[in-house]
Symmetry: none
Subunit: 231 residues, 2 copies
Amino acid sequence: MSQTILVVDDEPEIVRLLRSYLEKDGYRVVTAYNGEDALYTARHEKPDLVVLDILMPKMDGLEFTRRVRREQDVPIIMLTARAEETDRIVGLEMGADDYVTKPFSPREVVARVRAVLRRAQPRPEAPPILRVGPIVLDRSEHTVTIAEEPVDLTPTEFDILETLMRDPGRVFSRGEILEAVHGVAFEAYERTVDAHIKNLRQKIEPDPADPRTILTVRGAGYRLSPELEGS
Amino acid sequence: MSQTILVVDDEPEIVRLLRSYLEKDGYRVVTAYNGEDALYTARHEKPDLVVLDILMPKMDGLEFTRRVRREQDVPIIMLTARAEETDRIVGLEMGADDYVTKPFSPREVVARVRAVLRRAQPRPEAPPILRVGPIVLDRSEHTVTIAEEPVDLTPTEFDILETLMRDPGRVFSRGEILEAVHGVAFEAYERTVDAHIKNLRQKIEPDPADPRTILTVRGAGYRLSPELEGS
DNA sequence: TGGCGTTTTCACGAGGGCTTGACTGTGGAA
DNA sequence: TTCCACAGTCAAGCCCTCGTGAAAACGCCA
């Protein structure tokens, strides 16, 4: 019943440490010390998640990711050296679900593992059509109408609106919104959210200068006006 | 009740300094001057957190970390050399929960200690909606109503009210209130709390000149009136 | 490869919130 | 009653957050 984590790093010390922490947390741990072995192990053990160092002999983390992703849909957490932009971007592009920069605490890795696995669990099916007041969002058709009037949204705007509509009235922090959009908890400029909200308001607010649908909660985030519910 | 910190460094001067700052912050402090003694002390004192220098005689910080981690799940904060040298030993430093690079200010160490301890013991989940008499505070919506009437609070006012409502009737010192608001009991002007309390009273007291909701406890702090509970 | 729609970033400005310090008010002790 | 320490108040200034427009970066498709 317990989930299996594949830990890959060329430094045995790190592997040992992570193993001990992950096992203490109830996971089954299998290990490898280079990309080639890791690929082999991944095929046979079918891990629920992979933690791997981006820098490894034989086959590096990126190459491993590419290859394993062709075969399995397994979440991957990367261990990167410094917070180098390149590593970060490339890693995420290559399909990592999260990353941790060294030096890191094993506790933090365990926390990320838990978080990614939680996200990977199929969330309870949301109804395909969300309605909040006059706003109707159809996830299967990928369309939005306001008072029967169709509205044209970009993919990101659509995702943000969907997130807000999942729980009307609740405040979503900028971080939560970013995560909902990217599926990845990756640190990004939070002002980006503001920009999307601005654009969204342009499209769905009767008067964008005086928002009544998407409300700003200073110091907290954004939320849908609960008053819409009434209609 | 107070938490125990084990401070390990071969320089007595540093140990003395950290001890004084940590004790001033309410922690119990035990000390050691090398890795061997530290291990012995850790076994007997069961500290809640360890602060140690990575470079020490007899047994260095890394070795200590490895050994102690086999026996206890105690958070560790390492004191390391300058940041530039960090790269070299990045892989080795693994295992600490946080790092402080020398030269450091004792204040910073205390802040890290607090942060790590806070993370290590997440407070029990508070219910999303707090009710005390006619006051309803909804954390998920970030809203407050009094007798059904919505009240508009600033972020700080909201946090303070939430803190008081977590334990109605209990007295919170100004320090505790500051800490709840900032995450850390910043060395701040305590009169600041008074100012926020004043503003809060303006918004939630029927007669702000005669407070019946937020009571002042002379010499101690503030608390919610227990009488509200009755309604 | 070039072009286009989208996303992200950046810098600036406006507004509001927070902090501060001085001053006033008050309760309790002697 | 007097005194002292602590609490309340107020206004000024700093700082932080949010909104915005424009530009850069990116991704995709032809």
